[in-house]
């Protein structure tokens, strides 16, 4: 049936609330307002204020309370409006959620799911456009998922809730209106990357909203006879080395497309793993297309220039394939 990314996330939350009485949703404006991106619209009426909990603007305590409630036997879904505000809860995520199992010698695991919107592209300027999912992927003890497709928007939440450890889900806010067909009974594996488009000449490794720019680039290049393979990483921690390395071993060229800043990014990690593991398979140096290293500007032409775009993916892939053809 025809649906949107937003509705797919909402259905995933509804299903979880129906399937497991320990599940509840908590965050700023998730109830009466219906969610700042309208993801949870209607859920308050359906499940009531005990299970759809509006919180004060207190990221640290409601994220920490989600962690505590998980320790207390619940299965909370904590919604942080956007990744930008998650910085106010970083202490709880990094110092508590990610450490408790280890620090307690295996006694206390934290089965919490924390969802948040991420990404730029909506002219929201420097404080509302971060893409910090790669940053979070730096932290051992948590898992980081980046659903790009309707299937993943619908299917990743339940396995994340089944996971005994903390899972962060990053939803790129430009995707909420994405429309498409979605079948019934979606089940997905949250541990694997996915080949979104098979190809021969070069692999683009990407995730989240950049997946669509990469697929668009692949279309353009196909008309020139260049077949690129597009891999949707889906999980930034853990990374699925098998799919990543397997694809590049086949195509012998790789471009990593990442909406995060270039230095110290997840693209740097993917690139390093390629060097470490399949260096002798490479016909060209690994390249990266990332966001420009500036706080995000407001003006549309500047923001467009700061973000990875299909045109730059096309140009880079074309140059790499031709130069080393």
């Amino acid at each position: 049936m025809q649906t949107t990314y937003r509705e797919a996330v909402r259905e995933a939350i509804r299903e979880a609330l129906h399937r497991d009485e320990r599940v509840f949703l908590m965050g700023e404006d998730v109830g009466r307002y219906g969610g700042c991106f309208a993801v949870s619209k209607g859920l308050l009426a359906e499940f009531g204020p005990e299970r759809i909990r509006d919180t004060p603007l207190s990221e640290s305590v409601f994220v920490g309370a989600g962690i505590g409630a998980a320790l207390g036997g619940m299965r909370p879904i904590v919604e942080i409006m956007t990744v930008n505000f998650s910085l106010l809860a970083l202490d709880q995520i990094l110092n508590n959620a990610a450490t408790y199992l280890h620090m307690s010698g295996g006694q206390f695991n934290v089965p919490v799911v924390i969802r948040m919107a991420t990404g730029g592209g909506k002219q929201l300027a420097a404080q509302h456009s971060h893409s910090l999912e790669g940053w979070y992927a730096h932290i051992p003890g948590i898992k980081v998922l980046t659903p790009a497709t309707l299937e993943d928007a619908r299917g990743m939440l339940w396995p994340a809730l089944q996971d005994p450890d903390p899972v962060l889900i990053f939803e790129n806010s430009t995707l909420y209106n994405q429309k498409g067909e979605l079948g019934e009974g979606v089940t997905v594996d949250i541990s694997r990357a996915r080949v979104a488009r098979p190809g021969r000449d070069l692999t683009v490794l990407t995730y989240s909203a950049s997946l669509y720019k990469s697929l668009e680039a692949a279309e353009t290049l196909a008309r020139e006879g260049i077949e690129i393979e597009v891999v949707d990483l889906r999980s930034l921690r853990p990374l699925d080395d098998e799919t990543i390395l397997g694809s590049v071993s086949k195509t012998h060229r790789a471009v990593v497309v990442d909406e995060g800043w270039r230095s110290g990014s997840i693209s740097a990690e993917v690139s390093a793993r390629l060097m470490e593991n399949v260096f002798y398979e490479l016909d060209a140096p690994v390249e990266r297309i990332c966001s420009a290293e500036v706080p995000m500007p407001y003006a549309k032409h500047l923001e467009d220039a700061a973000l990875p775009q299909a045109e730059s993916i096309v140009a880079t892939a074309r140059r790499m394939v031709r130069a080393h053809g």
Binding site: V61, G73, M103, F108, N109
Partner: protein, 341 residues
Amino acid sequence: MSKPDAARAPVNVDREHALALLRQMLLIRRLEEKSAELYSAMKIRGFLHLYIGEEAVGVGVMSALAPEDAVVATYREHGHALARGMSAGSIMAEMYGKQEGCSRGRGGSMHLFDAATRFYGGNAIVGGGLPLAVGLALADKMQGRARVTCCVFGEGAVAEGEFHESLNLAALWKLPVFFACENNLYAMGTALERSEAVTDVTKKAAGYDVMSEAVDGMDVLKIEEAAKKAVSYVRAGNGPFLLELRTYRFRAHSMFDAELYREKAEVEEWKKRDPILAFQRLLQDEHLLTDDDLAELERSVELEVDEAVAFAESGTWEPVEELTRFVYSDKKEEPGADDVS
């Protein structure tokens, strides 16, 4: 808060219970004195924060809790862990870094954990434990369990945003949190009056409509009585309660502290109010404690400390091959989770 030398009414306390409280305080003191020695001997490393001087607080507060309640404590938590019923051996082995330690040597002095007594650390970010306590209490409330989460923190945490966020949410949602604020007057080296415009912590609680009381933190019986009142208020579903315990740390903040920020005379003045000596005197005055009793208590505590050290000494090192265990759960179904029953 009562004056130090105020005359008090004759105590009405069961002898056996009084001796148990005294023994717990003595055990904390002696174990910590031994820990300081072992730190100098380099058996214990990292940070070591001693609780000496504040024993009445941990003992009085833990005494008010039921076994099904939860405790979230700070990095100065040896006393709470012992008073909560964790074994001295598992605590000492943890400080040695041995795998027989309560956190398998992964936590050390600042991160004592124990699922059996629902002891949730050992939290070393000031203020960071408060949101967790709010969440544990939320889980209890949502499951209809009449359990209390006791959250221990220092007056230094009162300056953190997490204190204010936590009090507000606990009050807003009427959550069963017993906030126990140990006011020892110094946040590391910063005196309360040098860091807070309002130094009365109970006034801050009032700002969130949280019931509160301040109590003499050097008097174990008064603490126990106030804590019991607080716990029964919280357990009855009235929402959170904040108890401010006015106490004093006799030793340095940690083993690296030269104590440049306070006068020796001030420390000596407080030492006159030593909670253990004061309680001993009180019990002797009331003829509840003889010299023989005291000698016997000291002997049994010494034995327990010696056994704890022997247990830690004979402990083993976790194989390095297991370094990356417990980053993620070993299996899908969680081992220690406090699941809905």
